[in-house]
């Protein structure tokens, strides 16, 4: 600062003296360097939105060639991050198909295999943990959700005196989550699956608050998926890796079920408690369950959401 006082001694001139120029440019350069150094934390920022993604159209307004471009972008991003080339597709609903899920509460033993098969199939984050299915341990003779416990950890299941009730997205016919979305990033498809456009979601979490089943999950941080567990069979509305700040939830394994396969949670269930199919086909398993079995509940049916997920009993 002392040199500033010296500068006053200089004779005032209307131009810039060589000394003044050098002095002020040195100060300016060190100032800019200091600013750059103080912005160091920005270098750790890697999860930014690309321009293509920012300019992307709404899912339902995209033409097929535009969708092709988007799928290519997603495949490229996944490959860059995981060094695995995925097959990203946009599966469309089939005609004359409405999906329904039935779960046999007599058979479920609460082993939680469905929870983890779902995580592996749908590329859910492992750290922090995101799981679509919660298995509630409930005392016999009650359907009071308040008595449910999802943190049980005995050495062997099932435990005497309890039954187990897995809860996931109920794919409601009258979904409260869709009604509250301010940007229409979530909607119901013709085959009954409520989907989310992860590139359109703004992360306001209204839908999470609106869902009476605690079915929706929010990516508070950047999801981390171990490379060896990445499922390369991906779909746009389904299991492609999500980014920080968007909602996700069960979508009946859209990448499997719209290709005619069973969902992952059904295939892994050791007791065959889970049944899935097309309710519009009178010969499907779910049709015959709803016709012949004691279909006991649609969860919280009194609130009028009309789930496509039915719980039933054997006897």
């Amino acid at each position: 600062m002392s040199d500033l006082n010296d500068s006053c001694a200089c004779p005032p001139n209307n131009g810039i003296s060589r000394r003044n120029f050098l002095r002020s440019s040195t100060v300016l350069a060190s100032g800019i360097a200091a600013l750059a150094a103080s912005l160091a934390p920005l270098r750790e920022l890697t999860n930014y939105t690309s321009m293509e993604q920012f300019m992307q159209k709404y899912y339902r307004e995209m033409t097929p060639p535009e969708m092709e471009k988007v799928l290519e972008r997603i495949a490229h991003e996944v490959e860059r991050q995981y060094q695995i080339r995925p097959h990203v597709r946009d599966y469309k609903p089939m005609d004359g198909v409405e999906f329904v899920y039935c779960l046999n509460l007599t058979r479920c033993i609460g082993c939680r295999k469905c929870v983890h098969a779902c995580v592996a199939e749908n590329n859910q984050s492992c750290n922090p943990e995101i799981q679509y299915i919660r298995v509630l341990k409930m005392p016999h003779g009650s359907l009071d959700m308040e008595k449910g416990d999802h943190n049980y950890a005995p050495s062997s299941v099932p435990e005497k005196g309890f039954f187990y009730m897995p809860v996931q997205c109920q794919q409601c016919k009258n979904p409260p989550c869709v009604k509250v979305c301010p940007v229409k990033a979530t909607w119901q498809e013709p085959d009954g699956i409520t989907v989310i456009d992860y590139d359109w979601c703004i992360g306001c979490r209204y839908c999470e608050a609106a869902c009476p089943y605690f079915a929706r999950r929010f990516n508070f941080t950047r999801p981390s998926i171990p490379k060896e567990r990445l499922n390369p069979n991906m779909s746009y509305l389904g299991n492609r890796p999500r980014k920080q700040g968007v909602m996700e939830k069960c979508h009946f394994c859209i990448q499997r079920t719209r290709a005619g396969k069973y969902p992952a949670c059904l295939e892994v269930c050791p007791t065959g408690a889970r049944k899935f199919g097309n309710i519009l086909d009178p010969n499907s398993e779910v049709s015959s369950i709803l016709r012949t079995k004691r279909v006991f509940i649609q969860l919280k049916e009194e609130i009028g959401t009309s789930p496509r997920f039915f719980y039933y009993f054997d006897v």
């Binding site: 098969a117 062997s156 059904l266 892994v268 199919g277």
Partner: protein, 217 residues
Amino acid sequence: MSQSAMNGGFKKSLVLGGVTVSFLALAAGFFLDLWGHPTQSPLIPLVATNFINTATVRVSAGELIASGGDASGLDCYACHEKNKPLKLTFDAESNVILAKEHDDIVMGHGRHKRNNNCFNCHDDTNLEFLQTRDGHQVKLVDSPALCGSCHGPTYRDWEAGVHGRTSGYWKRDLGPIDRKVCTSCHDPHSPAFPGREPAPGPHLLHPIAKVSKERIR
């Protein structure tokens, strides 16, 4: 005039100098990591692969033969003599006494120990066959017909795809469906579905949340 201009220049330098110093301090702070990073919650380990595989709890005779596995255990006449009637022996509590070659068999089919006779299901005239209660011979690999002769409603459900495990394609014209038979999940000698270790439950985001939950209880 020149006095105020000099004062202005001094002030400007002072402000610029101050800004530079504060930027430098900020940079030094980041460099020395004065604020620290948010504490990482403990890493959640990957779930073991046995919790995500789709294998059935056991292998049925049909699957064993189809997969080319060791089916020597199904060859009854390697030990038994043909056309020689077998005589069962029972202990004081009327449990059937099994030869030590059949040690692996747990007799636990049905309650009250009443289903204690091997020939309720096996054909005593030809051990490679099973027999229904009305005397029909059934091949070992076609066991659902035998099971269904007692468990009618369950057999009806199984035929409709309502009981038992399925995998593959729900839409039959796109691909095959894989239906498991009774003995893929149930041990015919002790058919109650065995208990198993549950997969790990959800990890709580904050350990504190766990404590407070325990306190509430």
